[in-house]
């Protein structure tokens, strides 16, 4: 079930209503049941494997806790061994995907494998490090691992954060549906309208020059952001319908004025996860090695982020580029901040320059993320500077109708950025808490009209067949 499919929205509505009717003490069991029902629509076999892994992780964490309490030598290896096993399980599927037949003996990639293995690993490490007591209810733990709004594409919620919310208390359904509507709009109105032009350019990289390549260079980051943050919005909104608040994944990433700031704003649940479970242990182990230790830890961490998406040369280059940017940023950070403190007049221009460089560095790395192969990425980057006259999209065979959609997508994106910039400051939202009834009701009717207008726009201009979410395949 795709998150934008009407059948998914119907399923979600039915489950959300049933969860509200359900008694609080049965709600975790209910969530578990519907999560597995959702998972089984993709593959019953993969659901059985998920159940098996969940049970094994549950017992392992209890054993890790028991052996630590008894000061047994086994406490040192039980947790790490389980983590190595889970990482190998994930890597095996990623390697299997490299084979032309898509997998060992035709095995398909289990839905959300990259997300649920990370959830299991963080749980075992948290218990191993004594950060979290082992969960004693198998039912609650299984509901956490399989929670269907988050299994397709995250966000990667930490076990302590999720388990503390059980049994869930459903909050306002309006807030959940508003978040889902925002996600659908980002996906259907922005990402899917920007997509066709970008796909066209990437499919014809070798024959195009100049302008269309710049278009794809600048627009792909926006498409990826609208697509992935839209997916996250739907996941968070759906979670909210069941009374589960998930972690945010994005915080206006393209306003970042340096590359480490970008990574504090982009795919935050993954970055924080790797920060805690990969970077910090590595950095602790190499802390006496000075700058070399720092560079090695950053590189391993960023290559892991790249390869988490899949084992391909493009994702590797993506990770290596970001490690180079981050190492340069970390090694010069103190000097830069001293300079700007001593020269306050440079602070503003410095921020603008930082923003400009950061966006271009991010867009450059994303070319390798998006291109079908490293060669195609290189061709695009060379073609940007080609002396040949710029090609026209229409002349290359791109449908003119899609150009209108592209313009709409760009306008939609501008609206999205403006909304994220000014929405928090708008006094409008406060009107709904106003004591005067007619003010309150004017607010409700204006919001309903706006929603209906948005829906109509989406039906007229939104793409007829939604493209799959980019992040749903990882």
């Amino acid at each position: 079930m795709n998150f934008v499919a009407p059948i998914f929205l119907l399923f979600l509505t039915a489950c959300a209503v049933a969860s509200r009717i359900c008694q609080a003490r049965f709600r975790a069991a209910f969530l578990l049941a519907v999560s597995y029902a959702f998972y089984c629509t993709r593959s019953v076999g993969a659901a059985a494997v998920l159940a098996l892994l969940t049970f094994a992780a549950f017992r392992t964490a209890l054993a890790a806790e028991r052996t630590r309490a008894a000061a047994s030598p086994a406490a040192r290896w039980i947790g790490p061994a389980a983590v190595v096993f889970l990482a190998a399980y994930l890597a095996a599927f990623k390697i299997a995907l490299l084979t032309p037949a898509h997998g060992i003996a035709g095995l398909a990639m289990p839905l959300g494998i990259s997300y649920y293995t990370f959830r299991l690993i963080s749980y075992i490490l948290d218990v191993h490090w004594g950060k979290l007591p082992a969960e004693t209810s198998l039912l609650n733990f299984a509901a956490y691992v399989a929670f269907f709004p988050q299994i397709v594409a995250g966000p990667i919620q930490r076990p302590g954060d999720f388990l503390a919310q059980l049994p869930p208390k459903p909050a306002s359904a309006g807030a959940g549906w508003a978040r889902i509507a925002l996600g659908l709009a980002k996906k259907l109105f922005i990402a899917d309208n920007l997509g066709p032009a970008i796909n066209f350019v990437y499919a014809h990289v070798s024959t195009l020059h100049g302008a269309p390549l710049w278009l794809a260079f600048y627009l792909y980051p926006l498409q990826l952001y609208a697509d992935f943050s839209g997916l996250t919005d739907i996941a968070l909104g759906a979670g909210r319908l069941f009374g589960i608040e998930g972690p945010e994944n994005f915080n206006r990433p393209f306003t970042a004025s340096n590359i480490s700031d970008f990574w504090r704003r982009w795919h935050m649940s993954l970055t924080n996860w790797l920060g805690d479970y990969v970077f910090v242990p590595l950095r602790m182990a190499t802390r006496q090695a000075g700058n070399w230790g720092l560079a090695a830890s950053i590189t391993i961490n960023m290559v892991a982020i790249g390869l988490w998406h899949g084992l391909s040369a493009g994702y590797l280059v993506f990770g290596l580029l970001h490690s180079a940017f981050l190492v340069a940023d970390a090694l010069t950070g103190r000097r830069r901040s001293r300079f700007f403190k001593a020269h306050p007049a440079w602070d503003r221009p410095g921020r603008w320059l930082g923003w400009f460089l950061t966006f271009h560095a991010v867009a450059l790395a994303m070319v390798f993320f998006r291109a079908p192969a490293v060669g195609a990425a290189a061709a695009l980057l060379c073609g940007l500077w080609s002396a040949a006259p710029a090609s026209s999209l229409a002349a290359a065979g791109f449908e003119p109708r899609n150009l209108h959609l592209l313009a709409l997508g760009i306008a939609g994106y501008a609206l999205l950025e403006a909304g994220e910039r000014w929405r928090p400051d708008l006094p409008l939202a406060r009107l709904r808490h106003c004591g005067i009834r007619w003010v309150r009701w004017s607010f409700y009717s204006a919001a309903a009209l706006l929603a209906a207008f948005g829906l109509a726009l989406m039906l007229v201009y939104g793409t007829a067949a939604p493209a799959p979410f980019i992040y749903a395949i990882f």
Binding site: W129, A285, R287, A330, S337
Partner: protein, 81 residues
């Protein structure tokens, strides 16, 4: 304890390059600008040097706020006569 706190404040101000930084036991990473996983380890290394102690990865990941960090440092310091 007051002594530990003063030394910690000094190290924090140096790492975050902020002479006005005022530590409270309930201060967390979210409340200090620039405190991310990178600077967190810089901070840990600087504290190890300042107090001549060693932290483990598990200890470093378990900390919830500055108060817990101070308590951990005090636990590691040799008892003074």
């Amino acid at each position: 304890m007051a002594d530990t706190w003063q030394h910690m404040q000094h190290v924090f101000r140096d790492i975050f390059d902020d002479e006005a930084l005022d530590l409270q036991p309930e201060t967390t990473a979210a409340g200090v600008e620039g405190w991310d996983s990178l600077t967190h380890i810089d901070l840990i290394v600087a504290l190890e040097r300042e107090f001549k102690i060693k932290f483990t990865t598990a200890e470093v990941t378990r900390l919830k706020n500055v108060g817990e960090l101070a308590a951990l440092i005090d636990k590691k310091l040799p008892v003074r006569p």
